[in-house]
Symmetry: C2
Subunit: 198 residues, 2 copies
DNA sequence: TAACTTTGCTTAACGGTGTTAAATTATTTA
DNA sequence: TAAATAATTTAACACCGTTAAGCAAAGTTA
């Protein structure tokens, strides 16, 4: 009954093929244009057979993100093991996280639910720039004159924006929802950055 | 020829109705289930009529985000004008930004492209928790024993995650792409938080 | 070997999406 | 009133996720 094994192996293989094809499409065209029919085309089957391997499209995305987390964890471990000092290790791990996100952009987008809503952001209309301009101007005002270079302002601006937007995103996608911790993180970060500028 | 004016006024009104209906649907069912036919239903027309007011669905989302930015700017101005000290003003503005995001969750999601990919995040499988556990453990290690409470670790963890994920999101949705600034922000923030823990 | 059953896969279909072209109805103009 | 124009709808296209029915090959049993 070795034929059973062969068939099982084949089934496992097409399961893999489905995931590989999906990831290819995601990498080539972005995860929002991933469709069951495109996957089927790529593995040279018709769409319905995918449902013998995955309950639905979400299940495929789910498995892709799971695999993404595994890969991320591996890269972070590698980075960690290059150092012995805990602080250095921590920094290396965050850098690995960072690097992963950019090496696997679309995967990261699927994993953390980041996506542009529609159009190009390039020639953003003035209304879209108003809030950032306001913040920018105020940051400029807080920074003492002797430090006030374009790059320094830019750095502080993005540090601010990152921590706030990041915490918001986490709360919106995840349902973390511990208001106490959130407020503490937010105030810690904001006052910290402000003090660092003075 | 006052009838021309009346017609123009009516046209402007249905344009408004389209946007209002869209925002209602977005608030009720989330922006991913916004459809041209649903909008048409709500304004008691058929779908093709919408194309006389907006080029396509993206144009509607675009206008909604533009209006969102206007609203955000107004709330930030209000917050700013309650203080005179620049540092206090800056903090108030960031808090206004924060409050806006949670008062207008779905609008913020459209504006900044934040969305869950598919399923519930609640009972996340272990693979999904591995990276965060690794970071959590290392943070715990870096924090001196006398400060090492659950809440303190949690705060630091989310501060880290927020700033990194936030900066990543900004880079992925936007195409900011100034590697120099990015690296500076990242290292500034990370080493800053690390030092604050010691 | 012949009949029956299971398996693997496809075709067809449902209800949904954004979008466009043609047809129809209503309104204005001559 | 008749012609022209505008407003609106119907119908259609091509896509989407998903399911049910059908078919053909393979395996199993008599």
């Amino acid at each position: 009954m070795a034929s059973k094994d062969r068939i099982l192996r084949l089934k496992e293989e097409t399961r893999c093929n489905i995931l590989e094809a999906s990831l290819d499409i995601v990498k080539e065209e972005g995860w929002q244009s991933l469709s069951m029919r495109k996957i089927a085309d790529k593995i040279e089957y018709t769409a319905p057979i995918i449902y013998e391997y995955f309950a639905n499209k979400d299940a495929i995305l789910n498995e892709l993100t799971r695999m993404g987390y595994v890969k991320l964890a591996r890269q972070m471990e590698e980075a960690r093991d290059k150092f012995t000092d805990p602080a250095e290790q921590l920094e290396a791990m965050w850098l690995a996280y960072w690097n992963f996100a950019f090496a696997e952009k679309d995967l990261y987008k699927v994993m953390y639910g980041v996506e542009v809503n529609c159009c190009v952001f390039e020639n953003a209309c003035p209304d879209m720039k108003a809030p950032s301009n306001m913040l920018w101007d105020k940051i400029e005002e807080v920074i003492p004159e002797d430090k006030r270079t374009e790059d320094y302002i830019c750095t502080k601006y993005y540090t601010f924006w990152s921590v706030v937007h990041g915490l918001i995103s986490i709360n919106l996608t995840n349902q973390h929802r511990s208001d106490e911790i959130n407020k503490q993180v937010l105030r810690d970060a904001i006052t910290g950055i402000i003090n660092s500028m003075k």
